[in-house]
C-alpha cells in the first residue's frame, strides 16, 4: 500500500466512522460507540501499516488482521468497505438475513475477516498460531490482533501472551482498545486494571501506549512496533474514547451497546460531517 499522509488518514477515519454510522442506522442499534472509538486505529492499520490487495483478500503476502472482538465487526466492515475489500453497496445489508455482514464477525461470511470472533479470549491464541505458521513458511508478514481491554479479563489471553514471548514472535502485533467500557460497566472496575504497560512488559512484550484517537501518535506507535528489532511480540495499547466524534453519543452513559433513536442517526451523521477533515 501507498503510505498516505496523516491528513488523508484522518479522512479515512472519518469515512470509516461514516460507514459505521450508516450501518448502525440500518439496524437502529449496535456497537457503534466502539466503532467510532477505534476508527482512527483502523485507519492507520489499513491505510498506513498493513499490506493487502483489495481484490485478493487471501493474498498469501498480506498482513493478517485478526478481529477477536466479534462485536467490533461493524467497525471492521466499515474499514473493509473503505479499503475496497467489501463493496460499499453491501453496507445497507448489515445485520440482515443472508448478508455477508452479520453483527458478529465470522470468517466464513466476510471477505477480509480472518477469524471467527465473538467468544472473547480466542484471538490472541489464534494469532500465536498464525505467527508460528508464518514463521514456518519463512513469511515476512505480520499478524495483527485487535482485542479489547475487556478481553484481558480472559485467562486464555494471558496464556497466549506468555506463548508470544516464549516463541519470540516478532511478527505478532497486538492492538488493545482500551475504552474502559465492557458489558457490565467500566473495565477498570473489573479485572483489567492498570498498570497495563507493566503487565505486558512482565510478559515479555515490547509495549507502546498511545492516545488511540490521535492519528499522529498511532502512526508513530505502529511504526515503532513494526521496526522494533527485539525478538519479541509487540503490543500497542490504544486509549480510545467510546463514540469519539459524535459528542452526544460520547456523553451517553453505559454506551457498550447503544440504542439510538431514529432521528438521532441523521443528527450523528451531521455532527460527523461538520468535523469532516480537509
Amino acid at each position: 500500500m501507498n503510505k498516505l499522509s496523516n491528513i488523508s488518514l484522518a479522512r479515512r477515519a472519518w469515512r470509516i466512522r461514516r460507514n459505521a454510522l450508516r450501518m448502525g442506522e440500518v439496524q437502529g442499534q449496535g456497537y457503534i460507540a466502539q466503532a467510532l472509538g477505534i476508527a482512527d486505529v483502523l485507519a492507520v492499520a489499513y491505510f498506513h501499516a498493513l499490506s493487502f490487495r483489495p481484490e485478493e483478500p487471501e493474498w498469501e503476502e498480506r498482513d493478517r488482521f485478526l478481529l477477536s472482538i466479534g462485536h467490533y465487526a461493524i467497525a471492521l466492515y466499515a474499514a473493509l468497505i473503505e479499503a475496497g475489500i467489501i463493496p460499499e453497496s453491501e453496507l445497507e445489508t448489515y445485520g440482515s438475513d443472508d448478508s455477508r455482514l452479520p453483527m458478529s464477525g465470522m470468517a466464513s461470511y466476510t471477505p477480509g475477516m480472518e477469524i471467527t470472533g465473538g467468544s472473547l479470549g480466542h484471538g490472541l491464541g489464534i494469532a500465536v498460531g498464525f505467527a508460528l505458521g508464518l514463521k514456518r513458511k519463512s513469511s515476512k508478514n505480520f499478524v495483527y490482533n485487535l482485542l479489547s481491554d475487556g478481553e484481558l479479563n480472559e485467562g486464555s489471553t494471558w496464556e497466549a501472551a506468555m506463548a508470544g514471548s516464549h516463541w519470540k514472535l516478532d511478527n505478532l502485533i497486538a492492538i488493545v482498545d482500551i475504552n474502559d467500557q465492557q458489558a457490565d460497566g467500566p473495565s477498570s472496575a473489573m479485572t483489567s486494571r492498570e498498570p497495563q504497560i507493566d503487565r505486558w512488559r512482565a510478559f515479555g512484550w515490547y509495549v507502546e501506549r498511545v492516545d488511540g484517537n490521535n492519528i499522529d501518535e498511532v502512526v508513530a506507535a505502529f511504526d515503532r512496533a513494526r521496526l522494533h528489532d527485539g525478538a519479541q511480540p509487540r503490543v500497542i495499547l490504544c486509549d480510545t474514547k467510546m463514540a469519539k466524534g459524535v459528542k452526544f453519543l460520547e456523553e451517553r452513559e453505559m454506551n457498550h451497546f447503544l440504542r439510538v433513536d431514529p432521528d438521532e442517526w441523521e443528527m450523528a451523521l451531521n455532527i460527523l460531517d461538520e468535523g469532516k477533515p480537509a
Partner: protein
C-alpha cells in the same frame, strides 16, 4: 468408595491408582506407542504435519514424533486453550496440526476453543487424546467418562474411538487426507494388539463386523471391542453365539452398517462402550434404531452416570461392568 478399606489389610502390590497403566492383560500381545510411530511415519511424506502438545507429549506418545522432527513439534506448555487456538491459527496457515492432551482437558477445559476456533471454521486439526473413558484409575480429574457426550454435539467434528494398536496405526493415515477437524481417543504406551486376527482394516466412517453370529449382536467401540471379542469367546462356552460389530467412527455414525446388522431378526442388541451410558455410542445407536423403526431387545454396557472411584483398572473395570467377565455375565443375564 464402594468398598470400605479394611484396617490392617496387607498391602495389595498389584493394584494401583497411578495415572498411567496399561490395558493389556498379562501375556497379551502389544505394540509400543502405535500413534507416535504412525504419525512419525506419515510425517515423512506429509511435510505439512506438525505436532503440538500441552505438556503431555510423553504421555500421548507424541514424544516419538517430537524426537524425529524437533523443528515440527510445538510444546505449548500446560495451556489447553492456547493449544487449540494456536492449532487453529497454524491450520489457517496451511499446516496440519496433530495436537495431543488428555481427553478430560480437551473436552472439559478447551471445548469453546475447539468449537469456535477449529470446528466452526472446519479447520484441519486432528485432536488426539489419551485417557479416554475409564483408562486411568487416577480418579475423576483424569477419567474422561463423558468426552464423547460432550463432543457429539459439536458440528463438523468427526469422532474416532479405535480399539487397539492396529486400529490406531491405520486410523492415523486414514484421517490425515480428510480435511476437517477430528477428535480421536487414544490408547498409548504398550497397546494391546487384537484386530490383526480378524482380517480388519480401519475405514473412516465404517463399522466392521468382526464376528457374525445369531444370538446377540454386540455393537462396540474403543477397547470395548476387544472386551466384546473376549466375552464372545466366554459366551461360546455356554453356547451363546455373539456377533461383534466394531464402530470406530462414532460420528458420523455408519448408519447403514448398524441398521443392517441390527435388523437381523431374533438378535438382541447390546452396545458396549468405554464411556458413560449417557450421550455416547449407546444412545446414538438407540436413537438411530428407533428413528428407523428397528426395535430389537436393546441393552447398554457402559460406565454409570457418576464420578468414578480411584483404584486399579482391573478392579474398576470389574466394578463398573466393563471387564470381559462382566460383559459376558451381563449378556447372559439378559438372554
Amino acid at each position: 468408595m464402594s468398598e470400605t478399606p479394611v484396617a490392617n489389610a496387607p498391602p495389595k502390590r498389584l493394584t494401583t491408582s497411578a495415572m498411567i497403566a496399561s490395558l493389556a492383560a498379562p501375556g497379551q500381545r502389544t505394540k509400543p506407542a502405535p500413534f507416535g510411530h504412525a504419525l512419525t511415519e506419515l510425517a515423512r511424506e506429509n511435510k505439512n504435519i506438525v505436532g503440538m502438545s500441552a505438556d503431555l507429549s510423553k504421555y500421548t506418545d507424541m514424544h516419538i514424533f517430537a524426537k524425529a522432527y524437533p523443528e515440527r513439534f510445538y510444546q505449548m506448555g500446560m495451556a489447553e486453550q492456547l493449544l487449540m487456538s494456536a492449532a487453529a491459527g497454524m491450520a489457517r496457515e496451511g499446516a496440519q496440526p496433530f495436537v495431543t492432551t488428555y481427553a478430560v482437558f480437551a473436552a472439559r477445559r478447551a471445548y469453546d476453543f475447539i468449537c469456535l476456533a477449529i470446528a466452526e471454521e472446519n479447520l484441519d486439526v486432528k485432536i488426539v487424546c489419551a485417557l479416554p473413558g475409564l483408562t486411568t484409575g487416577y480418579g475423576p480429574s483424569h477419567q474422561a467418562t463423558e468426552d464423547i457426550a460432550i463432543f457429539r454435539g459439536m458440528p463438523n467434528l468427526t469422532i474416532i474411538d479405535p480399539c487397539d494398536a492396529l486400529d490406531i496405526e491405520q486410523a492415523v493415515p486414514a484421517i490425515a487426507p480428510y480435511k476437517g477437524p477430528v477428535y480421536m481417543r487414544l490408547l498409548r504406551g504398550n497397546v494391546p494388539l487384537v484386530l490383526d486376527e480378524y482380517n480388519y482394516k480401519f475405514v473412516l466412517g465404517r463399522a466392521a463386523m468382526l464376528r457374525d453370529e445369531n444370538d446377540v449382536l454386540i455393537i462396540s467401540s474403543g477397547f470395548m471391542t476387544m472386551r466384546a471379542l473376549e466375552a464372545a469367546k466366554l459366551l461360546e462356552q455356554d453356547n451363546v453365539k455373539a456377533a461383534v460389530l466394531h464402530v470406530p467412527t462414532i460420528k458420523p455414525l455408519d448408519e447403514a452398517g448398524i441398521l443392517a446388522a441390527a435388523s437381523k431378526p431374533g438378535r438382541m442388541v447390546v452396545v458396549a462402550e468405554n464411556h458413560s451410558v449417557i450421550g455416547g455410542l449407546g444412545e446414538a445407536v438407540a436413537s438411530l434404531l428407533l428413528r428407523h423403526g428397528v426395535t430389537p431387545a436393546f441393552r447398554q454396557i457402559g460406565l454409570p452416570d457418576q464420578f468414578l472411584d480411584a483404584g486399579a483398572l482391573p478392579t474398576l473395570h470389574e466394578r463398573y461392568g466393563i471387564s470381559t467377565e462382566a460383559v459376558a455375565r451381563q449378556i447372559k443375564s439378559w438372554l
